[in-house]
């Protein structure tokens, strides 16, 4: 079972998804667009890994999904953050800040 992403990147992908969903329920397409917009096109999520990640996170119980019908009569799947997902987000955000702060300190030291 080869992984689509190496571990650290995948970790940050879930952080980004969780953060995006903390604003409210959204579908997969919306998540990619949101990330791209906010990061000024720097973070272009590899769409191939987005859906497996969403499903894995649902499996972990961080997010839940619901089907709705779009204006064009398509079935659309919306994801939303669960309570467990909120705790996970907090944890991951802290981890991320710690790590980046540490990395920044290292980079600034010379």
């Amino acid at each position: 079972m080869a992984r689509l992403l190496s571990k650290p990147l995948q970790g940050s992908l879930s952080l980004l998804i969780l953060k995006t969903l903390s604003r409210g329920p959204l579908h997969g397409y919306g998540i990619t667009n949101h990330l791209q917009q906010i990061s000024d096109d720097v973070l272009q999520v590899e769409e191939g890994s987005l859906y497996p990640a969403l499903h894995r996170m649902e499996h972990e119980g961080w997010i839940s999904s619901e089907w709705a019908t779009s204006g064009t009569n398509r079935r659309v799947r919306f994801y939303k953050l669960t309570a467990k997902g909120k705790r996970q987000l907090e944890q991951e955000e802290n981890d991320w800040r710690e790590v980046t702060a540490a990395v920044t300190r290292v980079l600034n030291f010379v």
Partner: protein, 908 residues
Amino acid sequence: MGLLARLKNSLGRGTLHRDAADELAWHMEQRTREYLDQGMPMDEARAAAKRRLGNLTSLQEKTAESDLIIWLDSLKRDLALAFRMLFRARTVTVVAILSLTLGIGANAVVFTLMKQVVLDYLPVPEPSQLMILHSQDPESGHTYGNGMQSSFSFPLYQDLNAATTGIFQGILAFRGISVSLAGPEATETISGNMVSGNFFDVLKVTPWRGRLFSAADDQRPGANPVAVLSYGLWQRVFGGDPGIIGRSVPLNQHPYLVVGVTPPQFYGIDVSNRSDLYVPISMKDDLEHDKRKLTDRLDHWSSLMGRLKPGVSTQQASAALSVIYPPLRDQDLGFMKSPTESFRKLFAQKKIVLSSGGKGYADLRDQLSDPLKILMAMVGIVLFITVVNVANLLVARGVARHREMAIRLSVGAGKIALIRQLLIESIVLALCGGALGVAVAYSCTPVLLHLLSFDLSSASISARPDWHVVLFAAAVTLLAGVGFGLLPAWQSTRADVSSTLKSEGSWGNTGHSFWLRRGLVVGQVALSLILVTAAMLFTRSLQNLETIDVGFNTANLLKFQVNPLQAGYSQQRIKTFAETLRQSLATTPGVVSASIATVPVLQDSDEGGNITVEGAPTPTGHDDNSDAYDKNLVSPGYFSGMQIPVRSGRQFGEADSLPSSKVGVVNETLVKRYLFGKDPIGIHFGFGGGQVALDYTIVGVVADSKHMGIRSKITPFVYLPYLASDELSSLTFYVRVRPGMESSAMQSIRGLVHGLDASIPVNDLVPLREVIDESLFVERCLGFLSLGFAVLATLLAIVGLYGVMSYSVNQRQRELGIRMAIGASRERVITMVLRESGVLGVLGVVCAVPCVLGTASYLQSALYGVKPNDPAVWCSAAVLLIAVALLAGFAPAWRAAHIDPNAALRDQ
């Protein structure tokens, strides 16, 4: 997602796929629209969207995965990979599957027999409640054995049944009987049971057709001429005609009303002796005209089995019987003629002992259970060797796959996943072997039993493995698969990735697994030695039995039985019939001689009691058996016909046919035991103990001969003229024919009997040699099967040794090349390799010694005329295996000796 949801996913994979597809399709649609909005043309927009999302199908796949699906999918992948790998290594696979087939097949064959003979319960409800009642010695009066079962008098049975209603739901009584049945086509002899009225109630057997017996059927002697047929007899003789119920059939020429049929699976209560007919036990005197009478308290002939009440334990029942039985027992004392004081004392200690009856009676079980256990152990060892062999093959292949494993480990495959992969491969191997093994067992068991001349028709044993056997084989298979898979799997994944990959060409880390392989081979040799020794012991034992001197000439001797009494003959008419038949047989072309005995020889029958010989000290007390004798009633010309040498005196003639002519011929053992060198001719003797009349006279002495069976000891024996008897029923004829005339003589015999009286069936017309062969069934089974297993084991050991030696020679090519380059001769190289192979053989032999010393004593009971620790057998087995080891090493040694030193040195 919970487990349920996951399961639902795995089952409803379609829904899941559709969900994923819908989700991705919508995503595509949105992205395409976005590109369109940016001004791209439709097809370009779609292509761009697609590029960005990646391979849609694989994405669907990946997206739809949940844990269980991942697991199932990878199992499927592993299986496919396993088949591919096994197919790639075809030779290894074929050898492995073949040896597994043989190993598992052998196990299934033996287990098929083991299950039916030793393990199966009677096909009745709650068999564990059934208890067999045993009475202990001493007994007074006449005891008529029922195989190995205890015999009770019928009045005692009635008393017991009435007095034990507190502990038993009921006690049943039965005795085997053979009756002639005049069917629609021919008269034949049927073996059946005389049973108490409650027989079927106690067993809880329900009728297939009509009704079975009830307590009303055995109330008055001779009042209920009714019969129940077995399903098999009903089908075979009456074609399954339902109209047979309520019709009358002639049994021993008396009309009996058929009232019912038993269910197909019910074979009676003796697995080794199927019952085809049931009549009420109260009809005994009507069907059997012998001395044992239904109502005589001193005639002991029926076997008893009780069904415990629910909640009553065996201990409670035994305790209750120890109170109930003594007063019933002591009634018998009143019927005895002047019992001695010592007898009374012993008699007062008599008890009834219970044993579990859930598996029914089975003399066959007692006879076969030890040999079957031995065989089961042997096939277990064979399977173990097979497993070791396959493990060895796989370890060898594991070495070859070392690089593959190292590569897979280095690209991130988990060790567990690799081990799983290898285990799946070995389980696939095992399953193939297991399936083939069951197929082999299915087709071979009947052939095997036939080859071993075992007569299945009289025993209710099926030669076909049933689903229990398949389950057993499946369990064995899985165990084997994991057993031989685990070691190589663990071995392969211990690969040190970097060193293996670095060492191009040569295999890193192989020394360790090579020692493992050597160890396995030594184990194989050791186990083979055990089997070879056992096979040698059993073959020797079989040889001893087959060449045993029974005391008369068994060559070209036919035997058959007739029972004119069943056709309603008087004693005088029986004698006329028998003598007419004997004399016309003697003058039939191709016949050398014809003689008659009342007790068939070598067929586990005997008749006897106590004897008092004039001038010999009479032993006292019944704990001393030395005054026992066996007897047979024979026709004139019996000794010359059987070719039993007459040592002194004369044999019987026509003149000895009067009841008043009380003459006997005795064997040498009797003379030795009682007469201490006195001239036996003219000595008087009498039957019975105590103050009996010595009214018989010895007129001749004949050489000893075996009577009950070829294994039995020679007992003091008395022959009496059958023409002087008035208790004749079944007669056994012995007809010696000229070589090659057997089949024509058999035809003449049938024709002659039919011509004399068509209502008298000829029973068991076979060469006596066949009877002897059949009595050696167990020994032949052990002999042939153990030989087969030993050969198989040795072949497997050769394969193992050969593999190890070839590998070793390959490994040492460089070294051997150097040795030869600096002048070692070919002989020297061959010796070196052979020595290594021989050392493995010797190590195996040494390892086997303690196992062997531990197991030898278990074999004692199954051996005849050879000790389990016979040094000659041991040494030859050891020498044989060491020779085999050298043989297995020879081809690799030869190859080693022909290595081209230059090539070998350049190569590495």
